[in-house]
């Protein structure tokens, strides 16, 4: 709740936030390890920078949508939280003092240590990106000055007391100690600014690269949109052509504006979307692809994609439907693709020779890779092809032996 550390970790590890919080609480029972770990994460882990797609970012900038659901009241909560956090730090420090005093080990080094910790704490709080953003906005605010002053004074007091403890003969040890303390103090005071500077530089560079990329893509899109508009005017008498052109342009824009920002390699879903786009253009029929989960390409997954492509092509060529729905779901153990149309369908018991051939190849292809293909269809009710591929990595190479019987006899089942 304090610094969002538990939430961040939970998001990162993909476990419920409650577990993480529990883990922190439980480990705290063992010599405060939980609190130390929390503090360490808080200071060291940078805040996740949420990256939006360009369309969303632009909509946010123009006030067409809220950046998340954060309103003004939440910002107020944030500033309150800053005060709370400082108070919590102080209480934590007092707690440590109490703990040590209570166990009757009054160390002469304790007070300077606690003071120093409090001082560092104050200064290091600025390393928190959230407050950092606030400080950056009000550079000359009295908050900053006050904090620096308080932190520095505390560090100095700690230093003085520390050195005083070693007054007397051992001058070399004193000198070394003083040096170490001074350097450490300076490092701690300046650390946040150095980190901030480095982060800011990196951020700026990334922003520049990003904006250049976007300028390129924007230019490209600009051209393609203009071209499409010109084509639309020329083909105004051909509704089918107009629809295809508009649809293609829409897909291109949508992909750029609202697509996932990270695309590394061609996964099953991306591949299917690309295939669908191609078939859509060729046969002038809209194909809607919806996906849950994703799989990295390997020979089996590629076979699944190829079979799905074949099913889409069949539907586009023969069904006469006005659109095709594709649903791909990758769960823990299986990948499934459904290709459905509401076209004319056919009677699976009386299939023309060529269609049977196509279906055989679909079924055979899936079985070679340990999966199965089932075709359901009835006249007037459309067709649905269901492709299933188990994702068990250590399955035997010739997994086609235990092929499902219904795959071969026309697949009119389920």
């Amino acid at each position: 709740m304090l610094g969002g550390v538990a939430q961040g970790l939970a998001d990162h590890l993909g476990v419920p936030v409650l577990w993480v919080r529990l883990a922190f609480v439980v480990t705290t029972l063992f010599q405060l390890a939980g609190i130390l770990a929390y503090a360490a994460f808080w200071v060291c882990v940078p805040l996740g920078s949420a990256e939006d797609s360009p369309g969303l970012a632009s909509a946010s900038r123009r006030g067409l949508r809220k950046d998340g659901l954060r309103g003004e009241e939440e910002d107020e909560a944030t500033s309150n939280r800053g005060a709370l956090q400082t108070a919590a730090l102080i209480v934590l420090g007092l707690g440590i003092v109490w703990f040590v005093l209570g166990t009757d080990r009054v160390s002469s080094l304790l007070f300077p240590a606690v003071l120093a910790i409090a001082g560092f704490g104050l200064i290091w709080r600025q390393a928190d990106d959230r407050s950092l953003r606030r400080w950056v906005r009000e550079t000359s605010g009295w908050h900053a000055v006050l904090r620096i002053a308080a932190g520095s004074v505390l560090v100095l007091i700690a230093y003085a007391v520390f050195v005083a403890q070693f007054g007397g003969g051992r001058q070399i040890a004193e000198l070394v100690g003083a040096l170490i303390v001074a350097v450490a103090g300076a490092g701690l005071v300046l650390g946040p600014w150095i980190i901030r500077l480095v982060t800011a530089l990196g951020e700026e560079r990334r922003e520049r690269v990003r904006s250049q990329e976007r300028a390129d893509v924007a230019a490209h899109l600009h051209d393609s949109v203009l071209q499409t508009l010109a084509l639309l005017q020329k083909n105004a008498n051909d509704p089918a052509q107009v629809a295809t052109l508009a649809r293609r342009q829409e897909r291109e824009l949508r992909d750029w504006l609202y697509g996932e920002p990270s695309n590394d390699g061609t996964t099953l879903r991306k591949g299917l979307v690309a295939d669908a786009a191609e078939i859509e253009t060729t046969y002038r029929i809209p194909i809607e692809v919806v996906g849950v989960g994703d799989a990295d390409p390997d020979p089996d997954v590629d076979a699944l994609r190829a079979a799905a492509r074949e099913a889409m092509t069949n539907a586009a060529k023969h069904s006469g439907a006005d659109r095709i729905d594709v649903y791909v779901e990758v769960g823990g153990a299986t990948a499934e693709v459904f290709v459905r149309d509401r076209g004319r369908g056919f009677d699976p018991t009386r299939v023309p020779e060529d269609r049977l051939g196509v279906r055989r190849s679909l079924v055979a292809r899936m079985e070679r890779h340990g999966g199965r293909a089932v075709v359901r269809s009835s006249p007037g009710d459309g067709t649905e092809v269901r492709l299933t591929l188990p994702l068990v990595r250590d399955r035997s190479p010739n997994g086609g032996r235990d092929s499902a019987p219904e795959g071969a006899d026309g697949g009119s089942d389920r």
Binding site: Q7, S53, L64, G68, V290, G291, G331
Partner: protein, 228 residues
């Protein structure tokens, strides 16, 4: 304002000219297009181009259904919902958008919309969706069903779940999968050997979970993904 009573069993329970609709979109051209497509199937009582206009129009006309654009000057569709949804529970909201981004879709649903359709929906489908929402049902497009399955993915042990809100029942999951596969409610009913009314009940229940669940995928999508 009285809601039109719905008859059990029918797919389009409410209908005709007495169904009042408010169009909210910042593009006048799009509003004109939708108005033309809706034709005489429903009664479009007003149009609005930004959040303030939309709020004022809801107060004035008390429409049965508001067709709400997700991206809107003044804070977006979610802002409109935040300002009027609780004060006028009899007005139902159907979100309409070109954006396919999960955080927008989930965000507007969690703010209180009863459904989500994309702008390339056909006129007949849109009319059907408006009637459905007016009758108190939820409208899920295949894409929204996909997001739902994504958000509620993974089997969580019953003991570890805070409440039933955080997971879908097996039946709800089946219904969502069929919708994601492109099945209409009627087809889902036929496939699962249940009535359309039962399908509608399942979908409404999923909508409720979507709005109230505290699963971290949902809160992450709907909030700013930084701090809770």
């Amino acid at each position: 304002m009285s809601t039109t009573p719905s008859q059990p069993g029918g797919t389009g329970p409410t209908g005709g000219r007495d169904l009042t609709v408010l169009l909210v979109d910042d593009h006048a051209m799009f509003r004109t297009g939708v108005r033309a497509e809706l034709g005489s199937a429903v009664q479009v009582v007003a149009e609005a181009g930004d959040v303030d206009e939309a709020v004022a129009a809801v107060e004035t006309y008390r429409p049965a259904v508001v067709l709400l654009d997700v991206h809107l000057p003044g804070g977006g569709g979610a802002e409109v919902l935040r300002r009027v949804a609780t004060r006028h529970p009899e007005t139902k909201f159907l979100a309409l958008s070109v954006s396919d981004a999960a955080e927008d879709v989930i965000g507007v649903i969690r703010a209180g919309a009863r459904g989500y359709v994309t702008k390339n929906i056909t006129g007949d489908e849109l009319i059907d969706a408006i009637r459905r929402v007016a009758g108190g049902d939820a409208v899920f497009s295949p894409r929204l069903a996909g997001f739902v399955l994504d958000a509620f993915a993974g089997t969580i042990e019953v003991a570890q779940v805070d409440s039933d809100l955080d997971r879908l029942t097996e039946r709800e999951r089946e219904v969502m999968r069929l919708i994601a596969r492109g099945y209409a409610y009627k087809e889902v009913a036929k496939e699962l050997f249940i009535s359309v009314k039962t399908v509608e009940t399942h979908v409404s229940s999923v909508l409720r979970k979507l709005q109230l669940s505290s699963r971290h995928e949902l809160t992450r999508w709907a909030s700013d993904r930084r701090l809770i």
